[in-house]
Structures are given as C-alpha cells and as structure tokens.
Amino acid sequence: MDRLLLFILLFPTITTSISYFVGKRNELYRNIINILTTLVNFLVILYMYKYIKEGTLNFQVTYVMGTGLNLKLNSFRYIFVLITSFIWFIVNIYSSQYLFNYIHRNRYHFFFMVTYISTLGIFISENIINLFTFFEIMSFSSYPLIIHDEDDEAHEAGETYMNMAVAGGMILLMGIFIMYSYTQVLNVSELYLVLPRIGPIKYVISSLLIIGFGIKAGIVPLHIWLPKAHPAAPTPASAILSGILVKTGIFGVMLTVIFLMDKDFYLSLGMVIFGFINIFTGGILALFPVNIKRTLAYSTMSQIGYIILGIGLMGLMKDHGYLAVYGTMFHIFNHAVFKVMLFMGVGIIYMITHELNINKLYGFGRFKPILKITFFIGFCAIIGLPGFNGYLSKTLIHHSLTEYLHDFSSPIRITVEILFTLGSSITTAYLLKLYISLFVEDNSKYYASYRKYINKRALFPMVISSIIIIYIGINPNIFERYFFSLYNIFSIDLHSVHTIQFYSLKNMFSSFLTIGLGIIIYLKYVLPNLRQEKNGHMDYFDKTRNWISIEENIYNPVFKFMFLVSTFILRIFDTLLLKIAAYISYSLRFAANIEFQTYPNPMDKLNSMIYSFYIKFKDRKSKKTKKEHKLKDKIKESYNKPHMKINLSELEGKIKDYELNAKENFKSNIKHTVESGKNIHIKEKTVNKIKDSEKITTIKKDFDETKYKMNSITYSIYLVGIVMVVVLLALIIFNT
C-alpha cells in the first residue's frame, strides 16, 4: 500500500492537466473534475488511516531528480496531509462558485491545483531535497493566485511575496547545503542522529532553516508579505494561504526544532520567545486595520504564535511534553478549520458588495442568519470559548505552559501567565470589533437579504466547517487515541501521559477570564480610541498608518542602499577594461598632438593641401549629406586639435608690451622736448625719432627673422650631424 503515497501526488497531477484543457472549453466540467479529484484524494487519505495506525508508509524511487524521490507518511505527517486534503476539498467547492466575475479563471484553477499537489508533497517528503523541491513549487505556484486580480495592489503584494519567497528559498537552500556538506545525510528520519553532534555549526544550519521556513510561517520580522498578500488575493486563495500554506512553514520549523535538532534547548527557548512576540504583534496589529482581510491576516499571525509557542514548549519539556504535542497539533488542525471558514464568510460578503472596508460594510450581516451564525461559530472558536474547538487546543497549550513553569520562581511564572492571558484576550478584542460592526450594528443599506447572490455551494463548506467545530467542541476526546499514537514519534515518555479534563471548572474560568479581559479591552480601548465621527457614523480609522513599518523603514532602505553600492562597484568592473583602453588611447593621442614648433611648419601647408584634395576626391566618390560632413569635420577638428602647445606666444606678448612701452617713452620724450621749448631743429630731430620709433615695430619681424635664422641653424646642425653620422658609418664600414 506504499504506492498510495505516489497515487495521492500523481492522480491530481494527471487530472489537473486534463482539467486545464477541459477548462478552456467548459468551466462546469473542469470544476467537477477538480472537486472530484480532491474528493477522491481526501477519501484515499482517509482510507490510509488504517495503515497509519499500524506504522508508517514509505515509498522510494531512486532514479529521478538526482537524489531520488523518498516519500513517507506517519501519524505526525498524517494530520497535515488530512487537513490539507480536507480544506482543499471544501475550498474547491467554494471557489467553483466564487470566481464568477473574474477572468483567467482557468489559470487560477490550474495553479490552485498545482499548489495543492505541491503542498501534499511537502508534507509527505522524507528526503529534504524533495521537501525543498515541493516547497519551491508551492511558493511559485501560489504567486499567480495572489496576483490574480492583476491590479496595482495585487502586483505590489505579489512583488513583496515573490521577493520574500525567493529569498526564503535561497536561505533554506543554504542551510541544506551546509547540512549536507557536514552530515552527508538527506533523510529527515536519519538526520537527527547526526545533526545534533556536529558542533556549533548546527546552530547556523538550524537558524538558516528556521528563517527559510519562517518566512512562509510568518514569524515576526519576516511576516511582511502576509498582511499584504491576504487582502490582495481572491478569497479562496487567502483562505488557503492562511489555513494551509502558512502551515507548511510551521511544518518546516517543527521538523527543524523537534526532529532534526532533537529538541535543542536554545532553539526551543527561542521558539517560545518568538511565539510570544508573534501572539502580541499579530494581535495588536489586528486591532487597527479597517480592511477585514487584513485583520484576519494579522489574526493568523497571532494564532501562528500559539503554534510556535507550542513547538518551543515541546522542545523544552523533552519527553514530558505530551500536552504541548497534543495542543500544538490540535491547534494546527483547529486553526485551519476556523480560519478558512472565517475567510469564506468574508468572501461571500465581498462577492456581494465588492468591499472589504468595515466602515462601509457595517451592519451588513444583521439580517442574514446563516452567515451570521456560521461567522459567530468561527468567532467563538477562535477566541477559545468553551464548547468550541479553539478552546480545547488553547487550553492544552496553556496547560503545558503552566506545567513547564511549575519549577520556576513565582515572579517569572506570574509574568508569563499574565502575558499569555493578555495575548489571548487581544484576540477577543479585535474579533469583537469585526463581529459587532459587521453583524450587530444597524445599517439600512443592507436590509435586503441578497439571498439570490449567496450560492448554496458557498454556504455548504461553511456549514460543514461549523459542524466540525462544534462536534469537536462537544466531544473533546475523539482524537485522543490518535494523538496517543503520535507520542511515539515525538519520543514522549508514555508514563507521563494522563487524560485531560477539558471542561473542568478551572479551565473554564481561565477561558472566561481571558474573554472578559478581551471585552474590557474592546470597550475601554477600541471603542473610544479607534473611532471618529464621520457622516453620522462612528468610523474606524487606522492608527498604524503613521507607525514605523518594517518593510518601508528598514528593509527597503537597507536593500536600496546595498543595491546602489553594489551597482556602483560592479559597474566599475564591468567597464574596467574599456575605460583603461579608452584612457590609453586618449593619452596616446594627447601625446601625439603636443606641438613643439613655434613657427608654421612648411609641411603643414602641404599636408592641408593634400588633405583638401583628398576630401574633394572623397566627396566626389561618396555622396553623403552635408550634415554628416559637418559632423565628420567636427570630429576631425577635435582629433587634430592640439591639447597642449608649447610655443613662443608668451614671448610674442612680451614683444608687444615692449613695443607699447617704447611708444609711450617716445611720446613722453616729445612732450618733454616741446615743453622745454627747444628749437625746431631739435623738433625735427624728434620727428625723425618718432619715425624711428615706427621702425621699432619691425622688431617683431626681426624676431621672426632670428627665429628663422635659429631654425636654419638647427637645420644646419642636423645636416652636419647627419653628415657626421654618415661619415662615421662609412668609416666603420670601410675599416672593418
């Protein structure tokens, strides 16, 4: 029966590819195929319980994907597989009617099913590379679901999601690389024997793995995609995101902390701290938004906090932690059921009104009994009211926390106790805000029943989920036998296990205390502080809009800065060789154009004559436009332009100065002689002298002459030199 493991992966693969092509023609048949597929898969998985009870299922194919395919199913994995197949089944029914007003429905359904297959694959893969493979497929195939609407909001959310998903995948892969390099083992069930014994590097490995999985799980500093993606995605997709996809991250974290690292103390402690941080951050942030889905997304974060806290407790309590195991696994199941149900309720509202803002939707569900009741059941379950399933798992986690703190000093115990109660009570506050404004307030706009808009296929999954919620709430011990088989896998000391009395007075009291505190927070903080008068209605407003956002104030600036710096550095390498070559050619040209002559070179004229002839000749040949020629000439000019000229222009300037001075001197002389009243003879003489002064202007000519003379001297020196060289050569030649 081990082949059933392959069946639950291959069967949906085949039917999905069929339904994609069918869906191009006929939508009804496609939906039927998809629903039947998930139903058959669900039934097969239910049937597999028979074998799970007795042991594990294991299936291997060695010759594919490099490392082979290794699938395994035991009772720990079974709960994830079961909840996945069940939730997908009911959401498939739901989404068959949901997307009526949307385009690309076929694409949506295709990727919906691909995500389903890969999620199942994550939960049943034993080889860590197989797990990573399915994890990546799941990340990428859920992207088209998130950006399904293709508007700006969806694309922005999709971009954040994609960046986080790819980065998470890379970090995870880095962890797997190092792990494999140190242990040479890839199977999850063998790794715990090796990994805890390889020294401090194991903390590097496990933190890389936890970060990689934690991005999907929404652990606090890594959660930023979650509140963006949920409101942007269509409702069935956000239900799946919140109910199942987040659980894949949880599954990975659990695998790392409990199984791979064999309940390491420091990691478990870290998980407890992060659990509390998640409960509080998620809960507090859920108080503010006006978008319903955003509230629910933050609520998911807060509920994930309980699960992470449970994982931490499992690790801390080692083999006595049966309560933590029971509570955590139970909460994973319960959270999937009630959160998916709440999302489906929101989806119905959105389908009718195309609105998610509670300021516009207030009073919507006042006269819609089925919606109101199912939503109320979900609400009761999530806040942990006795009689509903959320109460059971929260009580268990609470119990295990108290049991762990039993040996600690009372200040620590009381602080943690208060923190836990406070964190849980916030859940009540934000859901009360949602519930009262949607279903209790009065709004004449929504008196109509909209019964014809609400499809039976939309209500059916909600009714099923609420039945499950209540049924589990009334029969709290139905899963006890199943969980008993789980303790073996978690290596729990079976002697420490006791039956739990869920509906004892003490438990009920602490639950009511929490809820009462929540109501007080709602009345004393939410109602007075988060609303303001607008058009005769008390509108909620989002206080967090001006708060520091991790994404915009930390991640984005840091990454932008790193991006710019690395661009700058790598650009240098990109153009390094070209720049060097350009610099060398420039400096060569520069050196070539330095002119040492101070007189017009007689060869220049000849050159220019030859050049002009050449140009004319070329003109005749090529009939190019004048513009091109001008451009070319300009380029040529710039080429021929000397960049430095060592010439005698300075000297020439000095000569001019000298001339001027001489003139002035003579003028002053004349004035002097006139004034002194000398005779005309002398005057004539001075006139002659003035004529002489004009001669002085010829000094320049004289200078030029001397230059020519100088040149002739140099030429003659050259000549003499050449003659001497020739003579020398001749002497050398003839002498030897």
Partner: protein
C-alpha cells in the same frame, strides 16, 4: 577508418563552401543546410559509439606543430551537444533569417562554424585546439556583423580585438609551456607532473596566461564586454554564440587546459587558482547583478550568460569531484536552457518587433506556448527544483563547501536570487501585466521556430527529472581525474 573522425569537421566546411560559392536558391539551400547538420549529428553519434581512443594525424611539421584529433569522453559529450543544438538552430534560423539575398554567405559561415567547433571538441592536443580556436573567431566574425550596420561593425571589431588579444596570451602561454614540457597532448592529470617543482613561478605564469587567454572567449571578467555588444547579431547567431559555440568552446578549452594539460595538482601546487577564483566569483556576481539593469531583453540574457559561465568556470578553479560534476552538468544544461531563452526572445523580436522589457506587457497571452517555454527555461536557469539547473548548482555548491569555502555557496545563492530578479519580471510582465480585460488573439510563431523552442523546453524538464544517467557518466570521468 580513423579518417571518420575528420568527417564531422570536414563535411560542414565543405558544404558551407558549396552553399557560399554555388549560391543556391532558397529551398535548395535549406535542404543542404538541414541535411548537413542532420548527417553530422549521425556522424558524431557514430564516432561517440564506435570510436574509442582513435587517433587521427592531420599534419606533423615538427614536435610543436603536430596536429591530430582524438575524441575522448569529454570531447564526445561536447560534440553531441554542439551537433544536436545546431539542428535546432538551423530550423530556427531558416524561419528567422527569412528569404533575403545575402543569406548564402550567412549560411556558409554558419556551417563552417559548426565544423570548426567540432574540431575544437575532437582536438587531441593543445596546439590543434588552438588552431581551431583561432579559426572559430574568424568564422564567427561574419556572423556577428551580418547586419552590416555601423553598430554591428563596431561590435565585430570589438569581438575581434578581444578574441585575438586572448589568443595572443594563449599562444604565449603555449610557447612557454612547450619550452618546458615538449609535449602538449591531452592526458588526464596533465603532462607537467613533477616538472613543476623545478620552476613553480613559470608554471604559475603559464597557468594565468592560458586561463586569462581562454577566459576571453568564456567571458571572464574583465574580458567580458565583447559579449553584450555582440548582441547586435541576429538571434540564432547570438543563441549559438552564447549557448553553444563560442563561449562553450572557451570553457571547453579552459577545461582541457586545467585538467588535461597542466593538471589540477600542478595548478593547486602553484596556487594560481586562488587568483582566478576571485575573478570567477566576480564574474558570477557581476553578470547576474548587472543583468537586472538591462532593459533590452537580449542584453539581459547576455549578462545572464556571463554569470552562468562563471558557474561553469567555478568547476575549473575549485578542484573537487562534485564541483567538476556540477560544472560539467551546468555547461550542458546552460546550453539547452540559454538557447531556449534566446529563441523565445528572438521569436518575440521577429514576430512582434519588441525588444524591451517594458514593451512586452501581456505578450504571454498572445504567444502562450513561447512564453511558457520561456518560463520553464527561466526556472531552470534560476535553479528551482525539479529543473535541471538545480541539479548542477547543487553539485557546485557542495563542491565549494567540501573545500571549506563558505563564500562559494553564498555567492551562488545570491546570484540565483539575482537570476530570479532579472527573469521573473520578464515572466510576470508577459503574463500578468497589461490590460487584463482585453481579448487578444493568439499568434504563435511558425512551426519552424515554435517546434525547436518547445522541444528544447521539454528537454530541459526531462533532464531535470532524470539526470541520474548523465550524473553517473560524468562521475565516471571525474573518478579518473581525481
């Protein structure tokens, strides 16, 4: 029948000259080109299967100029890759190039290049390889400047200058090496052996000269800039240049030099790989990072090629058997993946006249099959399992870690992230952007273009799912070397 080894080199060259000189008409020319490439594949397969350790002497002038062919396992794998991808490109380019006049010349050099590349694959010693290597530059130059525009000519000039600059360094290195060893034949483990103890620095210099010289064709930073400029060539040519012929010849020559002439132990002793490792890591990082900045799709892919070639060169500077397996696999996988990507971009260029990223919004709805193939190839290049890119990157990273070098996997993953950052926007723009409500009519390329694209995409997926036989084959050669 040792002569058979020469046939796959000779036949394309001869039929290339036939095409170039007799100037046949459109249909006749296509027949010649297609039949030549297909016959050549069969010949190569024949050699791969039936010719083991055959040695064919071409010319022997003296000990240095001793030209002979000797196909071994690595050469055979490369030859299969070349001759198989050449067929796809032939069909593609018949549609892409159209019915213009001067195409006989184009196809002449196109066929000659195949022969020369196979010559590189089958060469038995370094000097024969060098000869074909130089011929490759000359035979691809007319393909690069096919358009004849100013830009194409400038790019061609750049390509020539870079290539000959590299070849000069190689020649210098070969002469230095020959002066010491008197032997340039390919022997697993190298011909240098204990000679290295005599003159360590000389061998370091030889290694660096040969690495940088061959690295020019393999687009090693800082000798890479001919590659993005050579993008002016028609797409089948850029696909061939980037995926198969030129850059892979550079890599192949580097591999020959590292493992068969100098020997990795010699290089390890001289410590030369420490310097080249820096350049290779820089190549990986720079290529993928600067690809994000390119708006033009072909240029994006060109920078991507630079980075991916860095991955392959990683196997030549870290001497670990798993790195060797990874690098060799990546050489093959990158060839099939990159040629698919180029073909898709070329189809968009040819049929839709769009070259920039911003222009292709919504094109996935118009050309779904082409763009799905593009997406498949992109995922392969990023290395998302279960595609083939993951397999090769896995081996490379493990090889780096086995050496205790954490920088290598970090840079590999960083570069994979950048790869996602420059390819996923293309996919999401093509499929998810643009006017969503507008109905677009589907207009795929003609079958000559579409069938190679789809076949190549399918090959990528199949190789990703079943790489085990390939891994085992390469592992066998790796065991001989290490």
């Amino acid at each position: 029948m040792n002569f058979a080894v020469l046939l796959p080199i000779l036949i394309p060259i001869i039929s290339g000259f036939i095409v170039g000189l007799s100037k046949p008409a459109y249909n006749r020319r296509n027949t010649i080109v297609i039949s030549t490439t297909i016959i050549n594949l069969f010949l190569v397969v024949y050699i791969v299967l039936f010719k083991t350790n055959t040695l064919f002497h071409m010319v022997k002038i003296n000990e240095l100029l001793n030209l002979y062919l000797m196909p071994d396992n690595i050469g055979k794998t490369f030859a299969i890759l070349v001759s198989a991808l050449w067929i796809f490109t032939t069909f593609y380019s018949i549609d892409y190039m159209g019915k213009g006049d001067g195409l006989n010349k184009f196809f002449m050099f196109y066929l000659i290049t195949e022969g020369v590349t196979l010559g590189i694959a089958f060469s038995g010693n370094l000097i024969t390889l060098y000869l074909f290597y130089e011929l490759l530059t000359l035979s691809t130059f007319p393909l690069v400047i096919e358009k004849g525009s100013e830009e194409a000519l400038r790019a061609g000039k750049k390509y020539l200058i870079y290539s000959f600059f590299g070849a000069t360094m190689v020649l210098f290195g070969i002469i230095l090496l020959f002066s010491q060893t008197q032997n340039l034949s390919f022997v697993p483990g190298g011909v240098v052996g204990i000679l290295v103890y005599d003159n360590k620095n000389l061998y370091l210099m030889v290694y660096l000269l040969l690495f940088l010289g061959f690295g020019v064709k393999a687009a090693l930073v800082p000798f890479h800039s001919w590659l993005p400029s050579a993008m002016v060539a028609p797409t089948p040519v850029s696909a061939l240049l980037h995926a198969v012929a030129v850059v892979k010849s550079g890599i192949f020559a580097l591999g020959r030099m590292t493992y068969f002439v100098l020997g990795w132990r010699v290089i390890d002793f001289t410590g030369g790989n420490r310097y080249t490792l820096i350049l290779v890591l820089l190549t990986i990082l720079m290529g993928s990072f600067l690809a994000i900045h390119q708006e033009n799709l072909k240029r994006r892919l060109a920078y991507s090629t630079i980075s991916q070639l860095g991955y392959v060169m990683l196997a030549l500077v870290i001497f670990e058997d798993s790195a060797y397996v990874g690098g060799f696999l990546h050489m093959l996988f990158h060839a099939t993946v990159k040629i698919t990507l180029f073909f898709c971009v070329g189809a968009i260029m040819h049929y839709e006249k769009k070259t920039e990223l911003s222009e292709i919004a919504g094109i996935g709805k118009r050309m779904p099959k082409t763009m799905i193939s593009f997406s498949v190839a992109s995922f392969c290049l990023i290395g998302i399992p279960p595609t083939n890119g993951f397999v090769s990157k896995w081996f490379l990273a493990i090889g780096g870690l086995d050496q205790g070098n954490y920088l290598i996997p970090i840079i590999l993953l960083l570069s994979a992230f950048f790869t996602a950052a420059y390819l996923i926007p293309v996919i999401s723009t093509a499929f998810f952007k643009g006017d969503p409500s507008k109905e677009v009519e589907v207009s795929e390329p003609k079958n000559f273009m579409l069938v190679p694209i789809i076949l190549l995409a399918a090959i990528n997926i199949i190789l990703g799912f079943f790489p085990n036989w390939l891994i085992n084959t390469i592992q066998a050669t790796a065991n001989k070397l290490f």
